[in-house]
């Protein structure tokens, strides 16, 4: 009887085979599915903040500042309550994503239809503001922007905080 390969030898062959096989299946299935995932995605901040039609929700600091000075925008702070209390953009309302439904009920009366809503949190990769924007869109508010890394850029620019 032929001596069987040792488990180590078998593993050395099987591990790469398993990987290659899964790559091939994944590519094939993705190729033929209805909405394929692009093999190399665009994960830049502006692309991630785009809505389904591809319109970016991102707003620049300059534009946000103009809206602030004309009092044409309402700022919503998506960070936690303690972080909001430590300091926030002047006049911003607290809408912590952790407790978004309660917070929404409490401040929905203060959201005026004709003012642009600008959500923000802290950090280049913070998703809270994005999640909050998506939530508000679902709630029927159309004019929403996200100020990426909002707290940091606003404070560092020396703009009004409280």
């Amino acid at each position: 009887m032929k001596e069987k390969n040792s488990p180590l030898q078998q593993a050395l062959l099987q591990v790469p085979l398993l990987m290659v096989l899964s790559v091939l299946i994944a590519l094939a299935v993705n190729h033929w599915r209805e909405r394929p995932l692009p093999l190399i995605g665009d994960w830049s901040v502006s692309a991630r903040l785009a809505d389904q039609e591809g319109n970016s929700l991102e707003i620049g600091l300059g534009e946000a500042r103009q809206l602030f000075e004309r009092q044409a925008a309402i700022f919503l702070d998506a960070r936690s309550r303690p972080e909001y209390e430590e300091g926030h953009i002047s006049g911003a309302l607290s809408m912590p994503w952790q407790d978004v439904e309660n917070a929404f009920v409490n401040i929905v009366g203060q959201l005026e239809e004709d003012r642009i809503i600008i959500t923000y949190c802290d950090g280049e990769n913070c998703e809270l503001s994005h999640d909050l924007a998506a939530f508000l869109k679902e709630m029927g508010f159309d004019d929403i922007r996200v100020l990426v890394n909002g707290w940091t850029v606003w404070r560092d620019a020396g703009l009004p905080i409280q």
Binding site: K4, S6, P7, L8, Q10, A11, L13, Q14, V15, L17, L18, M19, L21, S22, V23, I25, A26, L27, V29, N30, R33, R35, L37, P38, L39, I40, G41, D42, W43, S44, R48, N125, E127
Partner: protein
């Protein structure tokens, strides 16, 4: 006289055979074997279950992968597409008992990588969703519970690895020697 000699020659052989069969039976019915089959099925089902939602929701799973913030952007989608199929293949290998050396090595490797990533993101305070079994964000953020769960699976996987690479090989040699 020749009959007596014949009998005498046969007797020890029978005796010997009797001993080896019972030893073989003892090995086959030992709790280690049962634990091995149980672990194999359990881990296999875990991997198959984990792959299911990710295969159906590649876009959502890609976001989960991206949120770990460890891969270069160009690799996020490729990993998000491939990983669930690798998990499914692994799970099936474990359940049906094929390619076990390769499957146990890969499963253990994956679980170690997952554990490292979870711990890394927990330590640096990144508040992300696990994306382990479901792409739904209702699963709640990854935390200590997720890490402990992974350690549990890793223990199962290490037992299988040990079994396939050390114990099973010994048993095979033993039965070859005595059959």
């Amino acid at each position: 006289m020749p009959v007596y000699q014949f009998n005498k020659r046969v007797e020890p052989m029978n005796k010997h055979k009797h001993i080896t069969t019972s030893a073989k039976q003892r090995i086959l019915s030992s709790p280690y074997i049962w634990a091995y089959h149980l672990c194999r099925l359990l881990l296999g089902l875990v991997f198959v279950y984990a792959s299911y939602d990710k295969i159906l929701q590649p876009h959502a799973f890609a976001v989960s992968v991206f949120n770990y913030l460890v891969l270069p952007d160009g690799l996020v989608n490729l990993v998000a597409l491939t990983l669930p199929w690798l998990e499914l293949l692994l799970g099936l290998c474990l359940i049906f008992g094929v390619w076990l050396p390769g499957a146990t090595v890969t499963a253990t490797g994956l679980l170690v990588i997952f554990l490292g990533l979870l711990a890394f993101n927990d330590i640096r305070g990144l508040d992300i969703h696990c994306g382990c079994f479901s792409t739904e964000t209702t699963e709640g953020p990854a935390g200590l519970g997720t890490i402990l769960r992974d350690i549990g699976f890793l223990a199962v996987s290490l037992y299988l690895l040990l079994f396939v690479f050390v114990f099973r090989r010994r048993t095979e040699k033993f039965s070859q020697l005595h059959s």
